[in-house]
Each structure stands twice: as C-alpha cells, then as structure tokens.
Symmetry: C2
Subunit: 386 residues, 2 copies
C-alpha cells in the first residue's frame, strides 16, 4: 500500500486541473486530502467528459483518493467551517481568489505555522487559463502544419499539469522546512510562470532571444532524428534516434546502413551526430520511407521491436484503451474500479512505484460531497469554534 | 533566497529532460544537486537549441543551480567514484539503465537508507521517449486539423515534464518517510505510465472506454466555450469562458448579450451551462467572429482586458521574448544571467514564490564538468574508498 505520505494532511479548495492535481498526487501517495467545494458542486462538478449516466469523468479522474466535502462557501457559516478545516490540517492548496475569508493572514491567526499554496493565473493578477497561456507561448505557431493565420493548440492542458505537479513539490518542500524550523508560509504560484519556466528550461526562450527563430518542423524531433512514417497498410509510426546506438538500431532494422553512408557522402554530413542527422533529415526520411511504405504495420512493428529501435505506433485513444496491453490491468498502474455513477472503468494509481502495491483507496473517487458529515464530525472542537 | 530545501542532497546521473527536470526543481528550491556525466559530455551535452557560440541552451536550461561533475563512467574508477558520490548524498535520480555498477542493491550496500528513483521508458522494459509515447496516446489524432493519415504531434515534450515533476515529488515524499522511519527505497517511474496517468486523470481513458469516441475539435476547448478568433488586422486571439461570470464578461465586452439570448432561443439551448455553450458553439463563434473581425487587435485587447474576459493573444516565441512584459525582468521570475559560452540571457528561477527573492545561484548554469575537482576533493574519505 502506497502510504508513503502517511500523516500528511492537506485541504484543497479548488476547481479544474492544477490545484486538484497537486492534491491528487499527494493523496495517491497516502496523504489525507480533503477537497472542499460549494454545496451543490463547484464550477467543475459537471465538467466534460461525462459518463453515459451524466457523471463527470473529469472530476472523478482528478479527485481520486480524496475526501469530498461540500459547504455553503457563500455564507459565513460555511466559510468558518472551511477555515477550521484548513487550520486543523495546517496545509492548504487553492486556486480560488485568496482574499476575504480565504486570506492567508486571517487563516494563520489560529494556525501560525500554516502552509498555504495559492495558484493564480499570472504573477500580476491577470486572468489566465491553460488555453489562453498556450496562445501566448508561441507553441501553436510551431505545431503541425500551423500557418500564421491558423495556429494549432495542443490538446493536452500541459501547463495545468506542470503547475499542479510543481505545486505538489512546493507543498512537500514547505512541509520539510516546517518540520525543521516550525515555520509555515504563503507560497504563490502562477500558471503562466510555469509555462515560461518550462520554455526557459528547454532553452526555447534563450533560443528566441539569441538565435534565429525556430521554424515549424511538423512531426520531426527538433535538432535530432525523429519523424513519422506511413506503412503499406495505411498505419503510421513515430520513430526516433537520439543517440548513435539508437541510430544504428534504426539503420540496421531497416537495412539502410550502407545507404546512409552514401547519403552522408552525397550531402557531406556526419551522420554520427545529432546535428548531422538533423541537417540531412529530408534525404534520410525519403530513404527510410521506402522501407516503411513497402511493409505492413505488423511486420514493421516486429522488426523495429526486435532491433530495439525507439518507436511507437500512432493509434486513437479508443485503440489505446481497447487494444494496447500497456493500457490494461496487465500494467500494475491500473485496476478496474467501480466509480460513483459511472460503473467500473480502468483507473490509474500513482505512477511512482515504491515497491508496494498501490492501495485500492488511491484509485477510488468518492461521490461529490459524500464525506461532509463524517469529516465535520471529526473536526476538533478547538478549530470548530474558531 | 529560496533555500527551502537546505540540507537536501541529491545525485543525478541523467540525460535529456525528465531526470534533469526532477533535479532542477529541487536544486532551484535550494537542494544541493550534483549531476554526473560521462567525461567529455553525455548524450545531451550538445542537444539543440544551441547558442550562436555553439553551447547547448537546452543543457543549460535543464541544469541550472546544479554542480556538474564529469567522470569516466565507462571504467571502473569512474563508476566507483560515482557510487561514492551517490552513497555520500544518500539520494539518486537516474534515467540510465540501473544495472551493473548502478544497481540499487549494490549501491545500498554502503548506504542502507539510500533513496533511488529510476526513470524508465515503460513499466515493462520497452524503450520509449516522449515522442514515441505521444503517438501511442491518441492525442495526435485530436490535435488541430489532424487527419487519420496525418496525426499532429505536440511540440512540448509534456510527458517528460510530467515525469520529471512527479519524480521530484516522489523524491521528497520518500525523504519524508526516511526522516520518519529511517527507511530508504527504490522508486521506479515510467515515462509511459506518466502519460497514461494524466490521460486517466483528465477522464479521457474512461471516456474512450465508456462513451462515444471524442472527435477532433480544432482549437475549441472541449465541453465548454473556448475558441480562437481573427481580428481585422490579421492577428489572432484565444478566448474562453468556463464559468457564467466569464461568459457574461465575454458577451458584455463584445456587446452580444441580447444576441446570445436570441441564439439560445433559436437553437433551444441553455447558454448558462457549459454543455449548452458547447452544443451551440458554432453559432456562438459565428456571432462573436463578427465583433472580432470588425476591430483591430489593440482595440480587442483593450476591451477584453477591461471586461476581465479570459483571453490571450497568439504570438510567436520571438514576440513573447521581445515584446511581452510577462517574459521580461518586469516579472520577478526572471533575471538576465550570463551563462557559460552564451552571454547573458533571460533566465527563469523556480515559479514557486516562497516570499523571498529567488537566489542568483538558482538561475546559474555551471560549465559542463566545471565542479569535478571541487566536488571530488570534498568527498568524504569513507565513501571515496568504498
């Protein structure tokens, strides 16, 4: 049972992805996480996708392993109870406006060592969500066959994911400091800053500042060898080589080792380097495409796997869930769990494998609001009166 | 100074994105992180993008705030020294094959409470990188104007980011347990599992299993209102409304409140719900497009901002770095830092704001290998001989 974080308590007053993901990460590692929502459901209570019965699969996915409490946060009674729960737990993550009843200074009056992590859209108070930040980052002009008049958004709310996971680390780091010094604190984190940080970490901000602007490269892996190919039967695969070992595996699997030597001479490039493979990517792709287009997917898959080439099949999500063994109970990440109002479906635990089985509780979403009475009945009288 | 993690020590034997990002997150919060590479540089030592002088901006971006040590890991001497550094630190993150000299059981011989986090491609030993996993997730068939014969990869290696950040939380969680129980442990984490976990968290696996398959929706936000619009002068903006407050802000800003009432009646939908706005998104977009296409970007920006509409401008990375105040030293995330062999450029600290200025050291990349002598000279004799 993954109870690594046994004894850690966190209250989440949250909605959507980032803040709930922070709580989810800690809850699936064994922390006691109480999510508080407005009575009747917060703004993401019915967020799509829905189960055939109309339950939010999105809400369930992001709130596994947590207790769910609903209070009337629009009135003083509910706010006072929420504050008491926060003070009892000593740790809060929120993406609500942290003013008024949720102001840090007010919360810490009864809990001076409170750790509070507040997620905002931007560092300077502008509103923002993942999709509006995506537009700003420039990535939609580098994606697929984007044109200047038709930028392409990525489907995955990746900035929400980065923000929520960084928040989880921030909470654990702050709790470590509290154990050492007794000090809590307010931690502020902006979604937009998370995006800028990652662009900086990947060298993309410096590249834009110092160098020639990067051009869109379709599905090619920038600065190395990676591309997608069609097989004879109309499937597609993604293939990559980021090292000489991987490159040799690819040319051996496809019987193109000699051909690549000739290409290197024809184009005067060194194909033992990333830079050379990147420079000569168009002729390389033309040559490899001959091999892929002459074979069916099954044969391509078997040969690439046998040679330990880095590759993956393109498939739809439906195909992933229906046909791919990695997305099934054959992978210990998953169990089929009956979720409220949705029946049983494949549900992941935390990907971190601490060497013990993931606990059933870590995959279970509770019905929205179901823990309200139980959690309030356990609230310590000291805090209930504050 | 952000030294929240003061006293935490970590060795990283790593390359590329995920493992280095785990170390970066902890290093920028004040942990002492030593990255060990092969003498002469690891496989990502020259990874693109490069500075005009030829230094890897990618390597620098992912290895700020760390000490950089190079050893000859192909020979026993170097391996022994690396092992001693790991045993001294008591904590390791790696994405190298963790067999032979880097086997967990061998490493913990001299350090029984060692925490080791090993990042793999997949849970069952297949090779994989972000790009090959992307293909498998199904997202490239839902991105932009993807067709069945032309899937669209996302530019951001988002699965690497999720994996690296989850690894950081896993290390902190394991260290918390070690403080409580004295126990270390091997933690295994697969990049592919991280992707499957996030798809599950967003409800997308359950949707594919239970419901009708999701169709591509271009730049629209699934299940709510969000879309991109062209302005009269040929710019584009992303606009969204995930709540009634945001929806009212949008219709008031664009003077379409009455028009939307009529649309609701014409199409018999309830535009006070996400579901209604999603169902009627095409007529809504047609009506809003009239407003956007009749105005220049500057006027659109001013009006949307005044009404607190959720929106963002599409811009290139070059425009982001050159023109956007949020990506400048006006944002405390950033400072302009002289980096080795690249001159000064805008460099982010950790987005987590603990209320104290980010330290200059947290933004500084060291020259590759520059800390080798110093780090080895401080290695405790006990470990140096092991």
């Amino acid at each position: 049972m993954t109870d690594i974080l046994k004894g850690l308590k966190l209250v989440e007053i949250s909605a959507f992805i980032a803040a709930p993901l922070a709580g989810l990460s800690l809850a699936q590692m064994g922390a006691e996480v109480i999510r508080i929502d407005q009575r009747g459901g917060g703004p993401d209570a019915a967020r799509w996708p829905l189960s055939p019965e109309g339950e939010s699969l999105y809400w369930q996915g992001l709130n596994k392993a947590k207790r769910s409490v609903q209070l009337d946060l629009r009135h003083e009674d509910g706010q006072r109870t929420a504050r008491a729960l926060v003070q009892d737990a000593g740790m809060l993550v929120t993406n609500r406006p942290d003013t008024g009843w949720l102001d840090y200074d007010r919360l810490r009056e009864h809990r001076p060592d409170l750790i509070m992590l507040a997620i905002r859209g931007t560092h300077d108070g502008r509103g923002a969500i993942d999709y509006t930040i995506q537009a700003r980052t420039g990535l939609p002009f580098l994606t697929g066959r984007a044109r200047a008049d038709a930028p392409v958004n990525q489907m995955l709310p990746a900035w929400d994911a980065v923000c929520g996971l960084l928040a989880a680390s921030g909470l654990l780091a702050a709790e470590r400091r509290r154990r050492e010094t007794g000090m809590g604190g307010l931690i502020e984190l902006s979604l937009e800053d998370c995006a800028l940080w990652m662009l900086g970490n990947l060298g993309m901000l410096a590249e834009a500042e110092l160098g020639p602007a990067r051009q869109p490269t379709g599905n090619d892996v920038f600065g190395a060898f990676g591309s997608d190919f069609a097989t004879r039967d109309g499937r597609r695969v993604m293939v990559a080589a980021l090292s000489n070992r991987q490159w040799h595996a690819l040319t051996e699997a496809t019987g193109t080792t000699d051909a690549m030597d000739h290409l290197a001479r024809a184009f005067d490039v060194d194909l033992t380097t990333d830079a050379g493979r990147w420079t000569a990517r168009e002729p390389i792709k033309l040559r490899l495409a001959q091999w892929f287009s002459a074979r069916d997917h099954a044969s391509v898959a078997a040969t690439l796997t046998r040679h330990r080439v880095l590759w993956g099949p393109y498939q739809t999500i439906t195909e992933l869930v229906r046909d791919d063994p990695t997305c099934s109970e054959a992978n210990p990440l998953f169990a089929r769990v009956a979720q409220p109002g949705a029946g049983a479906y494949l549900t992941p635990g935390i990907p971190l494998d601490f060497g013990t089985p993931r606990s059933p509780a870590s995959r279970q979403a509770h019905p929205q609001g179901a823990d309200t009475d139980d959690v309030l009945s356990r609230l310590r009288p000291l805090f209930a009166q504050s």
